[in-house]
């Protein structure tokens, strides 16, 4: 239901060709679309308003560079401001204190505190080991001895959950004493951490509503006792307008030093990130990207900005692909995409990878300009079985045919269809799909080489005036 902002602006600016500077009327028209796009991405209304107010003066009178269109210009201004508001650069955790450095985890029920606690602890105990490339840096590059303690005496078996996660991750947890209350658990945890020579103590708290005065007072008491260096607000990327209320309340009552955004591997647009950042002024430090213990990443503002604007996230796509495809395959694929050589062999291996990677739909959502393909797939009911059938069709081709699909004419199609137990029209469909993918890949590849502006142009609907 969400179309990319680029496409929407394309329509708005279809009428405006080759003007020198953006007029006030042009900008207002465009910003109306920006507003809707941000709201649909769950950015809180108050934040949207501030955002628009800040972008407007930047956009009015901005010279439209010769090679771009007004729509592209506005998108660029919006994008840049969004990145700036999201914090510009990645931020790591602060451990500049006398050990044990205390990290306090707070948030609503079900936001993912316990899982995030274990993930962060795991990451810290790993140190530089097992880090993928530039995935983590700064304070994460040092191996630390971590103790985790759960103060959640509300949710049944919450303490046990952390204990089990600790066992799985190889991170120490404070032994559970039944019926012990949060403050005395904290006291015991501090002592244990000191005595045991731990570098970091992570305190996982019970989920609480920001408006629950009693529970907020309780966590404030824990804070006063433990004096955390980091107080991380854990929030779900799927959060709607409430993000701003929750973030403000936690920041005012507890004092937040950073935000952990969870379930970023879902298909939510993640507008909550912008809302919370804007309201608290605190950086988003980490994002949760899966259920596994190592599914934790540092936050890259530009990637979330693209996602909020519905403009795809090519870097995440490549990284996600790299998780399942091995590095070498990924390099090969990237090279092929770059050259626009994407043959049926690649498609076949892609089909296999796609099944592993957890869904074509999710993956396509990350590709710029793929909204159409995604819709086509949804309507065509593309499912796992179809993926397997398409693989079968490709397997029925000769290696030569796979490298050079153009040579596949009627009689070859009949042979291939018979070989795969399919109809000729299925073969046609596959070939057409491949051709479309190839076209898409060619568009994607320009992102890296010709830069941001160019890629925007390619996202505009056909017939959209270019430079």
């Amino acid at each position: 239901m969400f179309d990319g902002l680029g496409k929407k602006l394309g329509v708005v600016f279809d009428r405006l060709r080759g003007r020198g500077a953006l007029s006030e009327a042009d900008v207002d028209l465009a910003l109306r679309e920006v507003r809707t796009a941000l709201l649909e991405a769950d950015v809180a209304l108050s934040v949207v308003r501030d955002f628009i107010d800040a972008v407007r003066p930047k956009a009015i009178g901005a010279d439209v560079v010769r090679s771009v269109t007004p729509g592209q210009m506005v998108v660029k201004i919006v994008h840049d401001h969004l990145v700036e508001m999201l914090g510009g650069a990645t931020t790591d955790l602060d451990f500049q204190a006398v050990p044990p450095v205390v990290v306090l985890m707070v948030g609503l029920q079900g936001s993912g505190k316990t899982t995030s606690t274990a993930k962060i602890a795991y990451r810290l105990t790993q140190g530089p080991q097992g880090m993928a490339g530039d995935a983590f840096g700064g304070s994460f590059a040092v191996r630390r001895k971590v103790l985790m303690a759960s103060l959640d005496v509300v949710r049944p078996a919450a303490q046990q959950q952390l204990k089990i996660l600790g066992e799985q991750a190889g991170v120490a947890t404070l032994p559970i004493v039944p019926f012990e209350q949060p403050l005395s658990i904290t006291r015991r945890a501090l002592e244990e951490a000191r005595k045991g020579g731990f570098d970091v103590l992570m305190l996982d708290t019970a989920g609480r509503l920001a408006i629950d005065e009693k529970l907020m007072a309780e966590v404030a008491a824990v804070r006063d006792l433990a004096k955390p260096t980091e107080t991380l607000l854990v929030a779900d990327a799927m959060t709607g307008q409430d993000a701003v209320v929750t973030a403000r309340a936690f920041n005012e009552k507890i004092g937040v030093t950073g935000i952990v955004l969870t379930r970023v591997d879902g298909d939510a647009r993640g507008g909550a990130a912008l809302s919370m950042r804007a309201v608290t002024g605190r950086p988003i430090k980490l994002i949760g990207v899966g259920e596994k213990i190592d599914a934790l990443e540092q936050f890259h503002p530009d990637r979330i900005a693209n996602r909020i604007l519905g403009m795809g996230d090519i870097v995440s796509l490549v990284e996600r692909a790299a998780e399942t495809i091995d590095k070498e395959d990924a390099d090969k694929l990237a090279a092929k995409i770059r050259k626009g050589q994407f043959d049926l062999d690649d498609l076949a291996s892609q089909l296999r990878q796609l099944r592993k990677m957890g869904g074509m739909q999710g993956l396509l959502g990350m590709l710029p300009g793929a909204a159409q393909a995604k819709a086509a797939m949804a309507s065509g009911k593309l499912d796992e079985k179809l993926l397997r059938r398409q693989e079968a069709i490709i397997q029925s081709m000769t290696p030569k045919e796979r490298r050079n699909p153009d040579m596949i004419h009627a009689s070859r199609k009949r042979r291939i269809a018979a070989g795969a137990g399919m109809q000729v029209q299925d073969v046609n469909k596959l070939l057409k799909q491949h051709a479309e993918m190839q076209k898409m890949m060619k568009r994607v590849n320009k992102l890296g080489e010709k830069g941001f502006m160019r890629s925007l142009g390619n996202m505009m609907p056909p017939g959209f005036p270019r430079g």
Binding site: M1, T36, I164, D267
Partner: protein, 312 residues
Amino acid sequence: MSEPKKSWFGRLKDGLAKSTQRVTQAITAVFTKKKLDQATLDELEDVLIQADLGVAVADRLVSNLKRTRFDKEVTDEDVRGAFAQDIAAILAPVAIPLAIDPARKPHVVLVIGVNGSGKTTTIGKLAKRLVEDGKSVSIAAGDTFRAAAVEQLKIWGERAGVPVMSRDTGADAAGLAFDAFQGAKADGTDVLLIDTAGRLQNKTGLMEELAKIVRVIRKLDPAAPHSCLLVLDATVGQNAHSQVEVFKDMVQVDGLVVTKLDGSAKGGVLVALAERFKLPVVAIGVGEGIDDLRPFDATHFARSLMGLETAS
């Protein structure tokens, strides 16, 4: 399900009161002006958007108001009443409680949703309600993924006085569901509640696993699960659309439960969902206590959301 009338509304209102406050204040602030003009309408639209109703639904509600009352002198109460009425009209058709078919023994209820939406807690509360209704209930702890999920559900089972079938973490959820179904059948249990692991709707593998659970229990009864409830967190924004759409596609969801309505989130996306998917909202969660599951009442919900006293 029997429920003392005044108590349920009291509890709901308590829960919603905090959510409501902001909406009410905002609307009241708008109506110091009285005459309904475009600026006022724009502000009203903002108020609805802040309740997560979404741009499209907010647009429609506001244009409806514009059509009927534009340029007229209106009071704050008028406008809130009109909105409440319109919202209630959208929600009324979906306010359908969970119907347990007594002929099925057991009536199988599959509970699904994304991670952290409140499935396990909802099952605990639901079990208690059904027991109070005189039904015999058993629970299958189908979240075999999350650490200590089984232990969590077992505690809820104890509180509700209901047996919980479980297997080790990592076990096959479909197999557990099958065995629990067979066991409940043999015992002549009225209701079997099946918990599932939380899953994001864009994870194809996990969604397939869910489809498998349904496939497997259908081997015992082609009509099972007799109810498939999707649990939604009230704090969720527009992603709720995607959640309902995908889960519905995968396993024929036939009811929604909205949780955490006692927070500051308004769950306004429910209005848009009701309009688009027309799925029954069988219950709402308003707290962490075992009694904090309530039937969904469209008028009360709409009026409470708009900060109005109930007429009844």
